[in-house]
């Protein structure tokens, strides 16, 4: 099933995130927040508020954890290899 995303959005793995807050500080639209919940490692992880992402990629590039942040850009088609 191919699915075209109308809006870009970030996906943050709550279990991998170490809660360093770099992405929250780097987001130009302030659409990332630190969750009140804890993950299995005991970190307050970062999460997307659900709308407002412009797909700038800042959170991806500032995140020190290779697999914590994935950003789907506007023209992403699921199943496609970038």
């Amino acid at each position: 099933m191919n699915k075209q995303w109308e809006y870009p959005y970030p996906e943050i793995d709550p279990d991998i995130c170490k809660g360093c807050k770099l992405c929250v500080a780097a987001c130009p639209k302030n659409v990332l927040v630190i969750s009140s919940k804890l993950n299995s490692k005991g970190f307050h992880y970062s999460e997307y508020v659900g709308e407002g992402c412009i797909g700038c990629g800042n959170c991806f590039y500032v995140c020190p954890e290779p697999s914590a942040v994935t950003v789907y850009l506007r023209n992403y088609v699921e199943g496609e290899v970038s």
Partner: protein, 478 residues
């Protein structure tokens, strides 16, 4: 390259960090907010985008990034502390088509590995060095590093770094910029998004230069160490901006790649036949003379000693070469001071039927002493009944031991009569041949073209004469 539609973990990383021990094979070991992860990601992304993952070899250092080989899906080495550029040199020379990345921290690169990086840069090795500068030893618990700022408090500088006792922060980019060979030297930072993107460009440029074999690239990255600096990651970024950048200004110090072609290094000679030819041994047969029956020795352990310049070493080499020609096992071991002429010198020579263990003659059965101090020193070492040949021109004191056989030969005098004191060594060789009966003087003379390869006919003739004189003197008098 097509426009990216998704930003996800680059293929330069392993899917699962299978070499990492423990259960957390899906995440790095770095502290929250560590700059290493960011730079790792930029490198892995560039390797994927340029499709060079399979030809990249990454050298991990000692430091927090010691485990970089858990994460990168490239060829990996882990080098001893500070030695990544040396290991990288070997990897690059052995695999000239590979992309070699040396990933180092400030303690590793600027302290213990300071000379390694200078020499590798000076040779212009085809590699990329990523230098993560966080002004502290992170892994070991926040001690002062060479790049620690003036006044910065660390566990080993609790009152702040004082330049009068601890020196000043070392600016490695500026240091390397004094060298001729590097093609690309730059300093970037991870303190905000604009600079992370600049770092990304620098990383990509350096890796591209390496794939084009442009030579040595050095990318210094100012990076945060929230744990070592005892602050949160966002505050650490501010700290880079406020404290580090004034001391470590961000700039491209050099970018010469456009004027530099691909580096083609000379291919080393590794063929044994070729090496023999270079040393002049390609025409030298190691056997050929028949051993002479009835020689006194099955085993010669000889010490030749005297002033440097008296032909001590050449006597030893000549005897070993002649012995080899007779089919004996031989060894020659020189020992001399730092000065080439005028100091004391001696050498050990072994010529024997059996195979040789140690090359040094600690208990010689024969000594050739060219001067008084050598006589005193080596006479003592002789085994009982051993033979002492000494240079009676320069030594006028009788040897003190009575349990040895002595054979005074005016070696310097004979050489002087021939018109050149430099032929002393061949007089000694002649005397040795006469005393031991192992070598025939005519056969020694036939080796002159090898022993004096590249010398004139006159020199060879003179040396042949010297051998004969030494031989005759011993035969006549003893």
């Amino acid at each position: 390259m097509a426009q990216k539609t998704v930003l996800r973990k680059p293929k330069g990383f392993m899917d699962v960090y299978k070499h990492k021990p423990g259960t957390e094979k899906d995440r790095t070991h770095y502290c929250p907010g560590c700059g290493h992860g960011i730079l790792h990601k930029l490198i892995a992304e560039a390797l994927e985008d340029f499709a060079v993952i399979d030809k990249t070899i990454l050298i991990s250092p000692v430091g927090c990034s010691v485990f970089a080989y858990y994460y990168f899906d490239t060829g990996n080495f882990q080098a001893a502390h500070g030695r990544a550029p040396a290991v990288g040199t070997a990897v690059s020379r052995a695999n000239p088509d590979s992309i070699v990345i040396s990933y180092q921290g400030d303690g590793d690169l600027a302290a213990i590995g300071g000379n390694n990086i200078l020499q590798a840069a000076n040779r212009g090795e085809n590699m990329v060095v990523f230098f993560v500068n966080n002004a502290i030893y992170g892994m070991t618990g926040g001690q002062m590093a060479p790049t620690t700022l003036e006044g910065q408090k660390t566990t080993t500088t609790p009152y702040g770094r004082n330049p009068l006792s601890d020196g000043y922060p070392m600016q490695m980019c500026e240091l390397l910029n004094q060298l001729t060979a590097p093609v690309y030297i730059t300093r970037t930072s991870l303190h905000d998004m604009a600079n992370i993107r600049k770092t990304r460009q620098a990383v990509r440029k350096a890796i591209r230069y390496a794939s084009e074999k442009k030579g040595f690239s050095f990318v210094e990255v100012l990076s945060m160490c929230p744990s070592g600096w005892k602050m949160d990651a966002v505050r650490a970024q501010q700290w880079i901006k406020e404290k580090m950048i004034p001391r470590f200004p961000l700039m491209v110090l050099r970018d010469n790649a456009e004027n530099t072609g691909p580096i083609e290094r000379p291919v080393p000679v590794l063929d044994p036949e070729e090496v023999k030819k270079v040393l002049g041994y390609d025409t030298f047969e190691t056997t050929g003379f028949k051993k002479r029956p009835g020689t006194m020795f099955r085993k010669v352990a000889l010490r030749v000693a005297g002033f440097g310049g008296q032909g001590i070493m050449s006597t030893g080499i000549a005897l070993a070469n002649v012995g080899m020609k007779y089919g004996y096992n031989v060894s020659w071991l020189p020992s001399y001071g730092p000065e080439m002429r005028g100091g004391t010198a001696n050498c050990s020579v072994k010529i024997q039927e059996d195979s040789i263990g140690a090359a040094e003659c600690t208990e010689p059965n024969m000594v050739i002493a060219m001067n008084q101090p050598s006589l005193e020193k080596f006479e003592k070492l002789l085994v009982p009944d051993g033979i002492l040949i000494y240079n009676s021109t320069l030594i006028d004191v009788e040897p003190s031991r009575k349990d040895i056989r002595v054979c005074p030969v005016p070696i310097t005098g004979i050489a002087d009569e021939l018109g050149d004191t430099r032929v002393q060594s061949m007089v000694s060789v002649g005397a040795f041949a006469a005393v031991t009966g192992m070598f025939d003087p005519e056969e020694i003379k036939s080796l002159m073209p090898t022993l004096f390869a590249g010398k004139s006919e006159k020199v060879r003739k003179l040396n042949e004469e010297a051998v004969q004189k030494g031989y005759d003197h011993v035969k006549r008098n003893f």
